[in-house]
């Protein structure tokens, strides 16, 4: 029936736009080393199985998990690669959880690694290979390829997120200042995190609003960077975790829910999500996770949240959809400082995806950072004691949501 799983440790590599001092396996090794540094009782030989993943085609190499086997210490051990686009990290973490929870003989400690070295490859080609299959059907409807690329001119993620931002802004009646405020909070938090990419300790709202539009309503200063980096998480059983670390973090609920693709739709045939900011998948994944973890009042019971938000409107949207705030009230909470480091419900104290985005790894950095906040080992540690936290991931064509709820008490209901 499954068993209780704990996170014993989590580690990051340093993130930058170009990590030209390391190759991809070395980057992964850096994250694993940081992960094992936090758990001194574990050496690489004690790890029973490995889960690995990155965004396919972004750095131009197939089967990267096989040529970095030695660098992970995974030789002659069970190895699994999972990749689900933007949520790869979240899915890798969930796979690590499942591998331990399954209770297979001899598999107790699992290392999950997610990585991305975007400077190595052509991200736009990677994105084109994701979208091309969907777009080609529009050719059969009589729209030439040049026309489509013009329609979706700004490219995959921001192209669709801009539509989402417009509806969200229309629904909540917020201005661009509210979006800029989220960015300022994230980048200032990132300045206190050692592994973050865009560190801007003195950023102001005016500076963000001074940058040109990439695509209305999103400005250049609001969008996430492209980073190189890796993240590692160590999953183990309840009993072993107590030996390894002082405060084991128990995984109480996981969910990975896909809804219908927004904007373009499957085969380019349009989407039934008339409002792209509706995000039924997020609401459903929150329901599933909270019911597993026994969380009845998310706003009261959750002390810390890491949400996947490459664009500021999404951060506002997710905290509402994941049940932390009432509909359309998130902008007020950011203005009042509820979500700041010393606030009532701190959100994204690591700077979030808005400051660091190594695509394959960033969805895993969310639960990893949320776990470190419970352990008290995060670099931008919140002053209050964190008992329960969540880490979310977002990907696909606005439609796949992963969520992991963690706590310092084992509460998973089987």
């Amino acid at each position: 029936m499954g068993r209780q799983v704990a996170i014993a440790s989590a580690g990051f590599s340093e993130h930058a736009s170009k990590r030209s001092d390391v190759s991809m396996p070395e980057l992964v090794s850096e994250a694993i080393e940081d992960c094992l540094k936090n758990a001194p009782g574990v050496e690489i030989g004690d790890i029973d199985a490995f889960v690995n993943g990155n965004m396919p085609a972004f750095e131009g190499s197939n089967i990267p998990e096989l040529w970095m086997t030695d660098w992970m210490g995974a030789r002659n051990k069970p190895l699994l690669r999972v990749t689900t686009g933007g949520t790869t990290g979240g899915t890798v973490a969930i796979s690590g959880y499942y591998t331990v929870a399954a209770g297979l003989p001899g598999i107790d400690t699992v290392l999950a690694v997610a990585f991305e070295q975007q400077s190595q490859g052509d991200t736009s080609v990677g994105l084109a290979s994701v979208a091309y299959g969907e777009i080609s059907i529009l050719n059969t409807l009589g729209i030439p390829y040049e026309q489509i690329s013009r329609l979706l001119s700004a490219g995959a993620a921001i192209g669709v997120a801009a539509y989402q931002a417009t509806t969200y802004m229309n629904k909540t009646k917020i201005k661009e200042e509210d979006l800029a405020r989220v960015v300022v909070q994230n980048r200032r938090n990132a300045a206190k995190t050692w592994w973050a990419h865009l560190k801007m300790p003195n950023l102001t709202i005016e500076e963000v609003l001074d940058t040109p539009y990439v695509q209305y309503p999103l400005r250049y200063g609001m969008v996430c960077p492209a980073s190189d980096g890796a993240c590692a998480m160590l999953f183990t059983t309840e009993e072993k975790a107590k030996d390894i670390c002082d405060i084991p973090v128990y995984v109480n609920g996981v969910a990975s829910v896909a809804n219908e693709t927004a904007v373009l739709g499957y085969d380019g045939s349009g989407s039934c999500q008339i409002d792209p900011s509706m995000q039924l998948g997020a609401i459903r994944s929150a329901e599933l996770t909270y019911s597993q973890a026994g969380i009845s009042f998310p706003r009261k019971e959750i002390d810390y949240a890491e949400v996947y938000s490459p664009f500021p409107n999404q951060e506002l949207m997710w905290v509402e959809k994941l049940g932390l705030f009432e509909e359309a009230t998130a902008p007020e909470m950011y203005e009042a400082g509820v979500t700041a480091v010393n606030g009532e419900l701190p959100v994204n104290c690591s700077g979030g995806v808005n400051a660091t985005n190594a695509i394959g790894a960033s969805a895993m950095e969310r639960p990893a950072e949320a776990a470190l906040q419970i352990m008290g080992k995060a670099s931008n540690q919140v002053p209050k004691t964190v008992h329960t936290s969540i880490g979310s991931g977002w990907g696909g064509s606005l439609n796949l949501i992963t969520l992991m709820a963690m706590s310092d008490q084992p509460r998973r209901k089987f």
């Binding site: 050496e43 131009g60 529009l138 409807l141 729209i143 979706l152 539509y163």
Partner: protein, 175 residues
């Protein structure tokens, strides 16, 4: 854990190699052949020649798909009924993209809209009349399809969407 030993450090790597060596490579993505079933689109494309819009309806949940879809994702049923769709629509959501002309360097503002046709339950991506001012676009704006003079049976037969004043009875009843 069995052994309380420290892992050997890999720090020496950084001392030995300050920079990595760079090798260039490329992928040829254009040589793929994607396969699609288009039989379910034939009635739709033929009707476009007559400047008429139709969509197919799922007999289980009654949702109307425009453009037609082969399977309803909610019910896992083949939509088998064809229904007429009006040529009026609403702006479901929009984004403004800034296109730079490579020759003149002039930046062109162009609103990209998702249109929600009256009578359909899906949105589709489209373009607005270039004469419409970018600042006038809003969510829920009523628009009407503008057809090309010569139709060939493709979605490009709708050249763009024009703004129009919605004075239908539905609006009055809603209020």
């Amino acid at each position: 854990m069995s052994k309380m030993t420290q892992r050997k450090s890999l720090d020496y790597i950084k001392k030995d190699y300050v920079r990595t060596r760079t090798l260039t490579g490329s992928w040829y993505l254009a040589s793929y052949k994607f396969k699609f079933n288009i039989t379910h689109m034939k009635p739709f494309l033929e009707k476009l020649k007559e400047k008429k819009l139709i969509g197919n309806q799922c007999s289980s949940c009654n949702r109307v798909f425009y453009p037609p879809r082969q399977v309803c994702g909610k019910c896992l049923v083949k939509p088998d009924k064809w229904v007429d769709i009006r040529n009026t629509a609403r702006v479901s959501t929009f984004a403004i993209s800034y296109l730079k002309d490579p020759e003149t360097g002039e930046v062109q503002e162009r609103p990209m809209v998702l249109v929600h046709h009256d009578g359909a339950d899906t949105t589709s991506i489209a373009e607005l009349n270039p004469e419409i001012d970018v600042k006038d676009v809003y969510v829920g704006m009523p628009i009407i399809a503008h057809w090309r003079d010569e139709t060939v049976g493709g979605l490009m037969d709708i050249e763009y969407y024009d703004k129009f004043i919605d004075d239908s009875d539905d609006i009055r009843y809603k209020k």
